[in-house]
């Protein structure tokens, strides 16, 4: 057993884990933060994407131990004071989801994109989503939602 300490959505947590615990298992099973999904478990789909020290990463391809001492933000950590994050609001408004399975990873990935590039072109958005797979929407409304969120967040 290993003690890991990290700040998850602003709250400090310390827990004992088996070294082989993945970050996504830690979040879902030990912290009950089930918003972060496991789609493929093989580093392909991006359903498990979270922010670690501000950067998007696949929580299924990372040990909880590797996040020791880090700040982690999951989909549950985006809304503030009961108000959706502008990216969440844009996905809702522009229907950027159907079944919603890919959505937490899409939204976190898109938040990372806008941190680095507040005004991405449609092409840049599509390139950025290389690691996020959606089996429902055909991506058009996801891209549209991200474009609108970018606009809202700049203004």
């Amino acid at each position: 057993m290993l003690t890991v300490t990290m700040t998850v959505n602003g709250q400090k947590v310390a827990k004992d884990v088996d070294p082989r615990t993945l970050l996504v298992q830690f979040l879902r099973e030990q912290l009950n933060l089930t918003g972060t999904h496991v789609g493929c478990d093989t580093s392909q789909c991006g359903a498990c994407v979270v922010l670690v020290d501000g950067k998007s990463m696949k929580a299924c391809t990372m040990l909880a131990a590797q996040a020791d001492g880090c700040e982690v933000t999951t989909i549950e950590g985006l809304a503030k004071n009961g108000e959706l994050h502008p990216m969440q609001a844009a996905f809702k408004e522009h229907h950027g989801l159907q079944c919603g399975f890919c959505t937490p990873g899409m939204i976190i990935s898109a938040v990372d994109l806008l941190q680095q590039n507040p005004d991405p072109s449609e092409h840049e958005i599509r390139e950025w989503l290389e690691g996020n797979i959606c089996r429902c929407t055909g991506y058009h409304n996801i891209v549209k939602a991200i474009q609108h969120a970018a606009q809202d967040m700049r203004s």
Binding site: R20, D41, S43, Q44, M62, L63, Q66, D112, W128
Partner: protein, 265 residues
């Protein structure tokens, strides 16, 4: 995943010691290959030695006429680094084309070259730019580093510390990527340097290699037409469901031309 002991040493010496202490110990860098391999139970290290706590392994610096990249520097850090972007833009572009943003935020240069996947991008840069790999024991020239399929000159207990890339006069990387993973079906790094031209190829064969016939032709005339008439043999090249050996041989010529055109600017 089988159980293992986890270590995060904060010095190179401590990492080397932990590695030497157990013959089934393995290094962990970004984990983008190691963890999937362990999940499939294709690897079962007794101990994992996480290199992320060793500050000296991370970062980029200029050293004379070369750019030195630490083994634990992520692909995203290389792609965004100002020194790399101004001195060897082809290397920044290569790093920016690896996988997807989340893989680039964790995967590292050292992990990529130590793994020596035949379809990985960095080996083309190491070979094509004539880099030198620095380990905790010695320096290894690019031409001696990649030995075979997933095989390098690294010995047990040896770990990559940094890679020194000489700054070329001009260079470019062209890859025909696998549309799902972005791994190279064929990738070619062409570099014109004071000492001649180098052509490093990945994806095509079991390990990255130089194409000397192209190098000689380009040394005389650094233009895409110089490659006309050079035919690449399919013997010994990789063939799989994505591309036959013959198709890969053809792609070597096409990607080499594209790289020369891009390097001429």
């Amino acid at each position: 995943m089988y159980a293992f002991n986890y270590h995060r040493p904060n010095s190179l010496d401590a990492a080397a010691q932990a590695l030497a202490a157990n013959e089934d110990a393995k290094l962990l860098a970004g984990g983008q290959t190691m963890l999937p391999t362990m999940k499939q139970r294709l690897a079962m290290p007794s101990d994992l030695i996480d290199l992320s706590g060793i500050a000296e392994l991370r970062g980029v610096c200029e050293d004379g006429d070369a750019v030195v990249v630490g083994a634990m520097t992520t692909h995203a850090e290389v792609a965004a680094n100002e020194i790399v972007r101004s001195k060897i833009p082809a290397l920044a572009k290569l790093a920016d084309g690896i996988g997807d943003p989340q893989v680039r935020n964790r995967g590292t240069l050292g992990g990529s070259i130590a793994n020596a996947d035949p379809a990985a991008d960095y080996p083309a840069a190491v070979v094509g730019l004539g880099a030198t790999v620095k380990t905790n024991k010695r320096e290894i020239a690019a031409d001696d580093f990649f030995v075979g399929l997933f095989e390098t000159a690294l010995e047990p207990g040896e770990l990559v510390v940094s890679v020194r890339f000489p700054v070329p006069e001009a260079a470019a990387y062209a890859k025909f990527d696998h549309p799902a993973s972005r791994y190279a079906i064929v990738g070619v790094m062409v570099a014109r340097t004071g000492g001649g031209v180098r052509v490093g190829i990945t994806g095509a064969a079991p390990s990255a290699f130089r194409q000397t016939e192209m190098e000689q032709a380009l040394a005389g005339n650094f233009a895409p037409d110089a490659l006309d008439g050079i035919s690449v043999s399919a013997d010994g090249l990789n063939g799989d469901i994505h591309a036959s050996a013959e198709y890969r041989a053809h792609l070597v010529g096409v990607m080499a031309k594209r790289a020369v055109i891009a390097a001429r600017g």
